[in-house]
Symmetry: C2
Subunit: 401 residues, 2 copies
């Protein structure tokens, strides 16, 4: 019997190759059993450490206690409950001045679903999607699952976008571009100027190739920004744009799978693209987004978990690492530090870090060689206790050099 006749080869490979983060997770479990959980400094996972706002608990109990269960737990329409979509549209309109209506909003099971549905709505076999490194590793999986090809633009030395290379990469086969700001893993927030330049290039190339090139923004970290940073709202800059949003990080609800897709009302084909999104959701088996959490988030728009904790974590960790001699751009958003490894091979560096019980993720999977990702969505107290380890790690390399 031939091997590949038994199941889908791509699915099998995706399911049987352990991700690096998964490997670290397993290592952490074993190590914790050996030396105690409190002595292992696991910076590998982007699971919010700050609890959901107290209001989430209150509202959930209120909704469950006071809604007829047949109505509460029944199907919503495939695109999501109309009132929920109206509330989200109003919120976007008033907050970002973006003129959304309910007909532009499609409720999803979180950002990953927002992306897979958007890509399946748009892509034909062999079409190209461009993204900028460092990038969230699953983009490649999602694009390929819809028959597309992912093209990656390496960053400039200062981690700004290489827009020249970007312009050169666009061709007659380019269907879409994915950006992620605030960025996982770099923490960078793209400025209005960057978004404008990027949009100008896309408009120029759309005209040149006489086709729509869609700009998809993956923004689960929109509200996780520090200081006076502002995250430009993409539909105000580029008409052929689609926002993939999730409440996973802003409300600390990653396991509940709730988010939405917002199709720019200024998009010429917005009705057709919205219809394709409905069709893609149907084909992928997303009957509707979980209804209890649809209702919940409609009452929590604009609220966030206490993100001042992440800001504090960032400051403590960033300042200490700089002090110990690490190189790193200060993140403006999200909850990751992208730090230059102290040797060329980030995987080896991560192995060395384990000696000090520091669990870091090599940047290679994010398309950036020689860097590591440190997720600081952990307790402030753990960060403080981990600092001597980071110091010793730097010293080991200083001694070697």
């Amino acid at each position: 019997m031939e091997y590949n006749k038994n199941f889908n080869e791509v699915s099998f490979k995706l399911g049987s190759t352990r991700s690096v983060i998964r490997e670290i997770f397993e290592y952490a479990k074993i190590r914790s059993e050996k030396i105690g959980k409190e002595n292992v400094f696991d910076f590998s996972i982007g699971n919010p450490s700050v609890p959901a706002p107290e209001n989430v608990k209150k509202k959930l109990i209120d909704i469950i206690s006071n809604t007829d269960p047949v109505v509460l737990h029944g199907y919503s329409s495939a695109q999501g409950d109309l009132q929920v979509r109206q509330k989200i549209a109003s919120y976007i309109t008033s907050t970002y001045n973006a003129e959304m209506t309910a007909d532009n909003i499609y409720m999803t099971c979180g950002a990953a679903a927002s992306l897979t549905i958007s890509l399946r709505a748009l892509l034909n076999s062999g079409e190209e999607v461009i993204t900028f490194a460092p990038y969230f590793t699953e983009y490649k999986v999602f694009v390929e699952a819809s028959g597309g090809v992912l093209k990656i633009i390496p960053p400039n030395d200062d981690f700004s976008l290489d827009l020249k290379k970007f312009a050169e990469t666009i061709n007659e086969n380019t269907k879409a571009v994915i950006i992620n700001s605030p960025n996982n893993p770099s923490g960078a927030v793209y400025s209005a100027k960057t978004i404008e330049e990027l949009s100008n290039i896309l408009r120029e190339k759309s005209e040149l190739y006489d086709r729509h090139i869609f700009l998809i923004t993956d923004e689960p970290y929109r509200e996780l920004v520090y200081g006076n940073e502002e995250v430009p709202y993409i539909t105000n800059y580029y008409d052929d744009s689609i926002v993939c949003y999730s409440f996973s990080k802003s409300l600390s609800l990653p396991g509940e799978r709730i988010g939405y897709i917002a199709v720019s009302p200024k998009m010429k084909l917005n009705k057709e693209v919205y219809a394709s999104i409905c069709g893609a959701g149907r084909a992928l088996g997303y009957v509707c987004a979980p209804v209890l959490f649809q209702r919940l988030i409609a009452g929590c728009l604009g609220e966030t978990s206490d993100i001042s904790i992440y800001a504090k974590n960032r400051d403590i960790l960033y300042n200490a690492l700089k002090n110990y001699g690490y190189e790193c751009v200060k993140p403006s958003g999200a909850f990751y530090l992208f730090v230059k490894a102290l040797e060329d091979d980030a995987k080896k560096f991560c192995e060395t870090a384990k000696k000090y019980e520091l669990l870091l993720v090599p940047g290679d999977d994010f398309g950036c060689h020689g860097y590591v990702r440190i997720a600081y969505c952990v307790s402030t107290e753990m960060i403080e206790r981990s600092l001597p380890s980071f110091k010793k790690l730097a010293e080991e390399y200083r001694t070697k050099a």
Copy 2:
């Protein structure tokens, strides 16, 4: 600009063609505004009318009140929370004597997700999947979304499975078979004898073509059976089997999207198929099943909504229709009656039924010409009030004849 360059043609068509049920839904809304909701007898939608058990409310509030929100709402592992999977496996083992372990269970966002993930795990482009009419319309969408081709076996006159035709249809390109028992729309429950015969054919053909042919059971209606009916547990009959389960109907939670896939522990390739399922879920953007409802159902295994109400509805409606001269096989499970239309063209018959404010679904979409589906998951009181309309409808046809 060419039309099909702008988006994926299949997604667009799926999203822009209104389903028949959707059409009826819209008609019902308009008609209700005109003559009052209580005067429209909408039998079109399979949304449970019986509330979730009181225990669901109690348990949800208990879980939300007493669990650390970081733990409660955090990601579970992709295949689902281990404890939840262990509980489901124990439940299946003790209830059906099927020897499941947590490693055979993969939590999903409901039956549709269970099916799309299983199909993507198995299918290679162009491979065939067989199902039996009448069948749930979305099977075609799901199979084609994974690059497969759906082959449909028409039923015998008495709605039993045409196993001769089935055996003839299997070829070297057949990858899987989907069965749905209790059946939507016929309400049939396949007997142990039927399952045995079907399994024998599959074993014989697997050997003949030297390949695994997988049997997928879609069983959201497993617990909705009446009288002494038993639904055979498929893994006890056929080794290469996969159970796609959902709590939507049994616990009246269709909008919350919670179910699971159970891979037979007796399947030779069960580890490989499970890995492929994990990979397929990842590629489709299912990060994990909603965690609050994972925890909930782990505490409600074996419980159901008050299905005696569906049994009562079935008896009232079935007896009355027979009495008025309609032809119909008495359903053993689910909450649908599949009734012979009183003229050859079921669509025309449904139009005529509208004169009496009866909203029925033509069976053509389920692969059966000349039949209509009546969903009796509505209030008993509405059924009682609708009976004179069914009587008048029959009389109109008797007068014509």
